[in-house]
């Protein structure tokens, strides 16, 4: 086979729980193939190697929440040929974007003994709000299968097969009985992007919206249906306000519910 220089990959962390980076380490069976195909140049979570840039591919986890982050992401972009943001934090601001709906100073004084030491931004924002992002891989956490697909597509120079339709399609393909229709459970599936293979409904739970809004979202329509199924305004507001709270269609719906309650 041809010998080509292996592409260098860097993995970066911003405000996040590290769960998405762990998905990469979780590729046990595929790890050798991954290691054979790419050169990990920077991945503090996994290795001490810290090669300088530029990098062929940067995977960025986490959201921007500090001044320092906002500068760092610019440097990373400058050193990266391709930049892929991974996970709900990096693609929508994550659960920490709940601060966007409140006064962050109130939070810091409630949480820290010396809030004056905390320097933080008023909002948690997605990577794409700061720099050009070549691909956004959704999920809280991301799916290892999709991560391999995106990395594979990058290596072979093809378009990744990452669907943007609803979770419901995956639900029906795997033969799960709809928990919303058959049990009246609150489920965000109809407005949430597929990718998890409809995990929660398969375990009798409604979808929590981990993969963020699907390609074409009608959140008010779902909200009305959930109201008819007996879900109160507060519960609906909270449903839309979780890992992807700051994603546009979810934000709009939760704010509408907040104002209307």
């Amino acid at each position: 086979m041809r010998t080509v220089k292996k592409p260098s990959v860097a993995v970066w962390k911003f405000a996040s729980c590290d769960g998405c980076q762990l998905s990469l380490l979780d590729c046990e069976d595929e790890l050798l193939a991954v290691a054979g195909a790419i050169r990990i140049a920077y991945f503090p979570e996994a290795t001490r190697a810290m090669a300088d840039g530029p990098y062929d591919l940067s995977l960025v986890e986490g959201s921007v929440t500090t001044y320092h982050d906002a500068q760092r992401i610019q440097q990373i972009r400058n050193q990266s040929k391709l930049l892929i943001s991974i996970g709900a934090c990096a693609t929508a601001g994550g659960i920490q974007s709940l601060r966007n709906f409140a006064d962050v100073r109130e939070y810091t004084s409630a949480v820290y003994a010396r809030p004056e030491y905390i320097e933080t931004l008023a909002r948690s924002s997605a990577i794409a709000d700061h720099v050009k992002v070549d691909f956004e891989l959704r999920g809280c956490p991301i799916s290892k299968h999709q991560l391999l697909e995106v990395v594979g597509a990058f290596l072979h120079g093809r378009k990744p097969q990452i669907p943007s339709y609803s979770v419901c399609l995956e639900c029906k393909r795997r033969g799960t009985v709809c928990v919303l229709v058959a049990r009246g459970e609150a489920c965000l599936g109809p407005v949430t992007q597929a990718g998890c293979n409809a995990l929660c409904p398969a375990y009798d739970r409604g979808c929590f919206g981990c993969y963020g809004p699907a390609e074409s979202v009608n959140a008010p329509a779902l909200s009305r249906r959930l109201a008819e199924a007996g879900l109160g305004v507060d519960a609906r507001m909270r449903l839309f306000r979780s890992f992807n709270a700051a994603a546009e269609p979810f934000r709009r719906e939760s704010e509408a519910l907040e104002q209307g309650r």
């Binding site: 991954v34 054979g36 072979h156 033969g175 709809c178 979202v217 329509a221």
Partner: protein, 393 residues
Amino acid sequence: MKVRPRDFPREDSARASSAASILARDALPALLAALRTRGYQLVGPTLRDGAIAIDRIDGESDLPIGWTEEQDGGRYRLRRREDVAVFGYTVGPWSWKTFLVPPETKLVTAKRDAGGAFTVDAGLAEEPKYAFIGVRSCELRAIQVQDRVFLEGPYVDRGYRLRREAAFIVAVNCTQAAPTCFCVSMRTGPHHETGYDLVLTEIMEGQRHEFLVDAGTERGRELIDELALRPAMIADVEGAEAAIDRAVAQNGRKVVTDGMRELLYRSYEDPRWDDVAKRCMSCGNCTMVCPTCFCTTVEDAADLAGKEATRTRKWDSCHTLEFSYIHGGSLRPNARSRYRQWMTHKLATWIDQFGVAGCVGCGRCITWCPAGIDITEELAAIRRSEEARHGGH
């Protein structure tokens, strides 16, 4: 009132002319056992996760005996019956499509060896021959609609043909219908016409619990002969007819099919499409559960090393953006255009394309739409809308 779909276009398959017989309730296991002896994998209704699924079953005890369901727009609830009817329910989210056109099928695997040469495997996977137990009239019509798509066009789907030709169909005449059923309007049921191997009608009167059984094919006839059933009396046949008439009366939805196609062709700009777009979430459930919807997408995947590639066929939906994506964007960019496409295809363009409507009136899309959107109501609204514009006509 008896409604018989005699004027509905259909193929006249060979129908063994014979009188019906009576299968005692406790002889049902013998019928299923005889099918298994012939090498069939039984597939039939069975309870799963709060609904009546269609899945592989081992025998009678897997059937949802004594169960039924409540159905309405966007709502389904499993319920206990007061009796022990074997087929006392209608249709659930599954259809036989799951077995004839599986949700995911691997089409091709290509492997690259060390020398760089490819070996391609596009062979069909070994599959069991199925006996479908409890196929309703609307469902058999749906299978016949899919036959037109997969068998009768210029390209025959090899896998479908194998599965379809092998399948033994034990049909059931409905003796109970759901509020979401409209087979009477669509002339697709509840009474079976052709296309089955055996057809059963469940008769429950007082202490009596039996099935009227008739054969539609030679292999069905052989099975009846083997079971040595008693011939049916005229009273038995009348009892079965009365039971089916109950399902006719219980058809909960209606559509006016007269001029339906032309109406939809005149209504591309009807404001009702904007109204439905406010409710439709583009989730695709209606297409997934519809027994006639046949669209699939083909996905290619390769491993990281670039040594193995697979091509997979998956159920797709016209409610997604990608479905109509061509260079530069999606042809149907909003819920209005997508819902309109779906419904107009079902009730109008399908007739031009395949000679029959793409809707058999099973009501699945009504029940399993999380928004409770009702195709019968949308059609009626379009008709009202036009009448309002033209002062009736």
